[in-house]
Symmetry: C2
Subunit: 362 residues, 2 copies
């Protein structure tokens, strides 16, 4: 009784309907080429056989996959719990869906990004946060798959989606300086596969370097120095933020304000502050970066640098699709988005009491 349950192929439908494979294909893809009665008949037979064209065969024949890939140097399990990525991907998804494109995530497979790229069946790649030191950039390039770089200035002649990191960072620092703060701790994002390089700012293209330049530019304009030992880094997560600030505190840092390079880390810092018995913003000001949805829901609500996360995602697919369609390869200028400070509740004037504490430290 039990059928062999092999799916019906286009040949089965053709035979059953007494037409050629081509006719069946036409019936679905370009029905205008067929008599409408024939189309109806073929469609009916197809439905009866529960025919569903094999998407893989279709991809091969058409040489396009209708899929775009999001590539990240970090493993997916960390990516998916990073709300910044969530918002960015959300933007990607919006635009991809509008364009009828499916979405695939490309991340190191057994540790190798190159292998993952080779196995990816995509028409275009959106590569997020690839530093100059990532050799896979060259690999992607050679693969001749259109791509766009996000948050990376590593390849100035390739299409890219960027934000004004330095400007945003400067605005954050300036805000704190205007509130009277002079002693900062900076919480940076560690490079993904930075490997052994102890210096998080070794790569001048890495986001931490860019934002740090912004902080320092504003500070030095006010005659203030942000020394290297006031900079701590960690993974861009809440836990990373908590740990980083604890580490700075343990190392003797007694800031009145914290400049965090991501909201997730800022939320972590918020917790460290509680654990240290510091009230925010009365005892310690904290400003984040990203302006995640959740920045509005913390207590106090987070002062942070806004960047258009979802919009960056949408723009990325626009660029990569653009490039996939007209392959003329004219080098496109990087697309820069503006950033701006959003002042909420986590920053305040520097308290005189804390000022003493600062002078206390040796």
């Amino acid at each position: 009784m039990e059928q062999a349950t092999r799916r019906a192929t286009i040949a089965d439908v053709a035979k059953a309907a007494g037409v050629s494979k081509a006719a069946v294909s036409f019936a679905f893809n370009t029905p205008d080429r067929l008599n409408s009665d024939t189309v109806a008949r073929i469609r009916k037979v197809a439905t009866g056989l529960d025919y569903r064209p094999d998407p893989v065969a279709r991809m091969l024949a058409q040489r396009r996959t209708q899929t775009i890939g999001i590539l990240t140097p970090q493993a997916l399990d960390v990516i998916f719990t990073n709300p910044y990525f969530g918002e960015f991907s959300s933007g990607v998804a919006t635009a991809a869906e509008a364009a009828g494109m499916a979405l695939q995530f490309i991340s190191p497979l057994h540790g190798s990004l190159a292998r993952a790229v080779d196995r990816a069946t995509v028409d275009g790649i959106i590569a997020v946060g690839l530093g100059r030191d990532h050799p896979e950039i060259a690999h992607i390039r050679r693969s001749s798959i259109p791509f766009v770089l996000v948050d990376s200035t590593a390849l100035p002649n390739e299409p890219a989606v960027l934000v004004d990191d330095e400007g945003g960072a400067a605005a954050a620092a300036t805000h704190l300086l205007e509130l009277g703060h002079r002693r900062f701790v900076v919480i940076g994002i560690e490079a993904p596969s930075a490997g052994l390089s102890a210096d998080p700012t070794a790569d001048p293209d890495w986001v931490t370097s860019r934002r740090l330049r912004g902080y320092r530019a504003a500070a030095s304009a006010a005659g203030i120095d942000i020394p290297d030992d006031a900079v701590v880094v960690g993974p861009a997560s809440m836990d990373g933020g908590t740990t980083a600030l604890h580490r700075a505190w343990a190392a003797g840092q007694r800031p009145t304000a914290v400049l965090a390079m991501s909201d997730a880390m800022a939320i972590g810092a918020l917790r460290t502050a509680r654990e240290l018995g510091l009230r925010v913003p009365e005892d310690l000001s904290i400003v984040g970066f990203d302006d995640l949805d959740i920045a509005n829901y913390t207590d106090p609500p987070l002062t942070t640098v806004h960047q258009p996360n979802r919009q960056k995602g949408e723009e990325s697919v626009r660029l990569v699709l653009d490039r996939a369609h007209r392959r003329d390869m004219e080098p496109e200028a990087p697309h820069y988005f503006a950033t701006h400070l959003v002042v909420r509740g986590s920053t305040a004037f520097v308290p005189p009491s804390r000022q003493e504490v600062i002078d206390d430290r040796t």
Copy 2:
């Protein structure tokens, strides 16, 4: 000068190396079948030509895609910003990576989940949160792609990953009852495409129904009633939680405790409490559900029902891969995970002052 930049195919490599296509294929996949010198030569030629086997052609020939799909009835843009999904997907990614599987997201394409399923090139599907009312379940079934249901009791005879929703919910309610609370507001998750059905508990399989049963079971065991108008629903987001609690308040509800069915909504409720001038937990207790990472970072830290989000993801891929490999289709029992209450700082004894407020209401 400029090459035609067509990628080298296996035929090109074969010709250049003076061997057959089969030999090239063997050189990469089953080198044992060839003389090792030949393998080396072929590999060298391939490298020289920058040959990279077309993954699509390979999929077609092998009839497997090495990809698993995560299917959701909601659009991807909402999924990606839902931290519960993030943690679940994180678990999926971990196990998928270990198995060498790529990950694809399947969500309604131009509004149609069925169309999205038909276009998906996956070896297995992990379907999250599909209610009994989703007709696409039948579609997936017919498609003969192995699948596993997550958070859905709609198909008792199919492999599924579930948690003890009722038990967890009962534990949450019991905890509050023991703290003396008697007046609750329940914040539920609205059904995705519930459509016009005003009643969020219309579908007894829907997560909101399951958890509500748990809350009510515990309450009625204590002789307490949770009336329908103490139940408000919204999307499972922070904003959904904020709005829902505001709506309940506006409708005259004056609870001493809030039972939220997701941590995201609980965080939203936390904000509503602040906006209403209520301190948590002094004036209002709030307990969430999910035990997201962030539940540890709110102020106060969130009392919530723990469920193993990542583990559910990992188990899902294990089940679906299992089913894909040995296709014997023996119906497997649903896999249930336990839940348990995690008491943190957002719940406390009901305050006498608030008790008066309650008696105040008309």
